[in-house]
Symmetry: C2
Subunit: 416 residues, 2 copies
């Protein structure tokens, strides 16, 4: 509905990214400048902050600090993993949210997250519409997993991809430094979608990548993996770098780390091999070949490495936040902001709106035709897709040689 | 000896750093400009390249690529771990080295490495002197471990410290993002010296550090660790970040990961806990508290993360290479280049020379008085020491949004 006047609530949900706060900055700055927005609130820890009436008054923050949010990783307002029940089953939470929205005259609600969060956002949107409460609800996407439906890519993905590609290049040089055998297995995040793991192909494009790349879109066969590594080693002076997704699984869908742990992959002491899949596979190769191996988990660093974020990602993610506010103020509701890539050689995107119900709970995985036939690599199509996204530097403000992250005052709004 | 004319050989040894090639660039560029130096060779894989007569002719390289070495991690010439026997026990290698040096008229020899490499350099230097062959031998220090005797700090340390401090700050924000318990154990390198682990204190100085820091200079007590974590969690909304050195050990000197693995720390499946010490301790805390935990190993990234290198480190490391050549040409031999910090508030260093035998095989650990009484932190003295070292950015050249590392032609010198 157009012309609404009232408070704005922005909340962050799910696993953070290194640029997630750029959207927060976009929403806050645009909201503070909008005549229709009477107050700009940030909810503490996502939906829980709404249920608990824990709002920060963003008008109390210095503009300089809001700008610094663009380079500050991890959800500045706090995140949450909280799944709303279907309103038809239990509408307690919905009633409470409506009550809170009414109490604070919230007329603009923005939820920032991935698949699950868009589901939450969709449910709230539908409930508010059904209950006749006038509010414009817009989803702001974020996820390093890049698995949201209906958008060319997801805010946050490019920065994680840039971190992974950069790190794989650096590890490539390091892992080859001795004239002795070395097999290095690197683990990227991504349970069902291999977008993050595929980013290693950007390092390949620069000549310093991985010999083998395994995505969870394809079943993983441990025996084939050992053979793949041995073949690379034969050709490659006993050196091999493999990048695997944490979500690789066998043909029955069992995660490889679990399959190996349970099936009894054992080291020379007879101990079961556990831990991350990189460590598990590195140990396996060590047992089979006797080579020195190293399992490396990119762990949280790939999603919080703001010092290596993509400038393009930061700007787009900031704009996604601003676009959400502009759209809502213009009367849009029940939508998610998404990116549409313009045709042509020059990379350019347009901000569009997608019905929330389409965005919710649909996972977009890497197209199978982008995975090479032997399942150990990613085609040039992927590089063509991803390379424009990682362009530009983060231009992080430093203080004492270290990141100067935003320092928010987080002034709590008095409970009503 | 002064006035020597002949070929220069530079070789790299031991674990690389993210700035090790800055010294290579310094030696090569200074050597190529010196009238006394008739040829500039890089030995492939350290001392082994000399034994095998595998030399790259550095005069064939583009100056632009030599400059790019300043930002290129991992030993560009290849490294080696090769321990020379005492010449009195077996002088086969020494005779061969002398033969090769004579054959190529090598009059300047530079060895780039840590403790073991300075030992190698020292042995070669002494043998050459004893055999009457005129050659000037200079050690060029490098080690992220910062454990070389006689120098204020070691080339390469500051960049690893900057990477660790930056990453701990980023992880600090990420690990606190949910309103649920989270214990994060981060593992830094350093078997006997805790300098790298101490770098987490730089993140503390910026307010986003670790609650607990454990150095290998102090015996580690697993039960105390659990209590320490529990106490932090109590005060801190069930959140705790601990940074540990890979080398932490119990009072008998047994490494903690081994001690726990062997003593039978078991997960809920009854599997023995193995792997890195971070994973081991994270699993232990999970068992004891039921909290979500995460073990993070900074692994190779801390020593190859050139994209996060210290500008000060790069420049000093480059100058250390140049200084080595200047000293050698001036007749110095049997020395290692070292840094001396000038007195006064403003950080400044002087390049000095230290007898090789003093540098070899002496480990410099973190002063015990810099470790807080409860053994879980590092004093401000450390921050005062380390902060100037991590100043300045790496100004890495990028191409396609990714690092543009040096691409050397590596033209082999024809064997004589």
């Amino acid at each position: 509905m157009k012309g609404l006047k009232g408070a704005l609530v922005f909340a962050q949900s799910g696993g953070p990214t290194s640029v997630i706060n750029a959207s927060a900055a976009g929403v806050f700055i645009e909201g503070l400048n909008s005549e229709n927005v009477t107050a700009v609130y940030g909810a503490a820890h996502g939906i829980r902050g709404i249920l608990n009436e824990e709002f920060y008054d963003m008008s109390k923050e210095d503009m300089k600090e809001l700008e610094l949010l663009k380079n500050t990783p991890s959800s500045a307002l706090g995140s949450v993993r909280y799944k709303l029940k279907d309103a038809s089953v239990d509408d307690t939470d919905y009633k409470r949210i409506l009550e809170v929205f009414k109490k604070y005259n919230v007329r603009y609600f923005f939820y920032n997250g991935g698949n699950d969060s868009m589901d939450t956002c969709n449910k709230i949107s539908k409930y508010m519409a059904k209950s006749g409460y006038e509010i414009n609800v817009i989803g702001v996407p974020k996820t390093i997993d890049n698995d949201l439906y209906g958008t060319d890519h997801c805010p946050g993905y490019a920065s994680a991809a840039k971190y992974i590609a950069t790190t794989v290049m650096e590890i490539n040089l390091d892992a080859k430094v001795y004239d002795t055998p070395m097999v290095c297995v690197i683990e990227a995040m991504g349970r069902n979608a291999g977008w993050l793991t595929a980013a290693a192909a950007l390092a390949n494009y620069k000549g310093l990548g991985a010999d083998l790349i395994y995505l969870p879109e394809v079943d993983f066969d441990v025996d084939k993996f050992v053979k793949d590594v041995e073949e690379v080693c034969k050709k490659n002076n006993n050196k091999c770098i493999a990048v695997v997704s944490e979500g690789i699984h066998d043909k029955d869908g069992t995660l490889i780390c679990e399959a190996l742990g349970k099936a009894g992959a054992r080291d020379s002491f007879g101990h079961a091999q556990l831990g991350g899949v990189a460590a598990t596979l590195a140990n396996l190769i060590k047992e089979k070949t006797g080579f020195k191996t190293r399992g490396i988990e990119l762990s949280l660093m790939q999603r919080c490495g703001a010092h290596c974020a993509s400038g393009t990602d930061i700007e787009e993610t900031f704009e996604a936040g601003r676009e959400a506010v502009r759209a809502a103020v213009n009367g849009e509701t029940d939508k998610m902001v998404c990116y549409e890539r313009k045709a042509g050689d020059k990379y350019e995107i347009e901000y569009k709106l997608l019905p929330l119900e389409l965005a919710a709970n649909t996972e977009k995985t890497v197209p199978l035709e982008w995975i090479t036939d032997n399942g150990t690599g990613v085609s040039e199509e992927y590089v063509k897709y991803a390379l424009p996204l990682i362009q530009g530097e983060c231009n992080m403000v430093k203080e004492d040689g270290l990141p100067r992250f935003a320092r928010l005052k987080k002034v709590m709004v008095e409970k009503r």
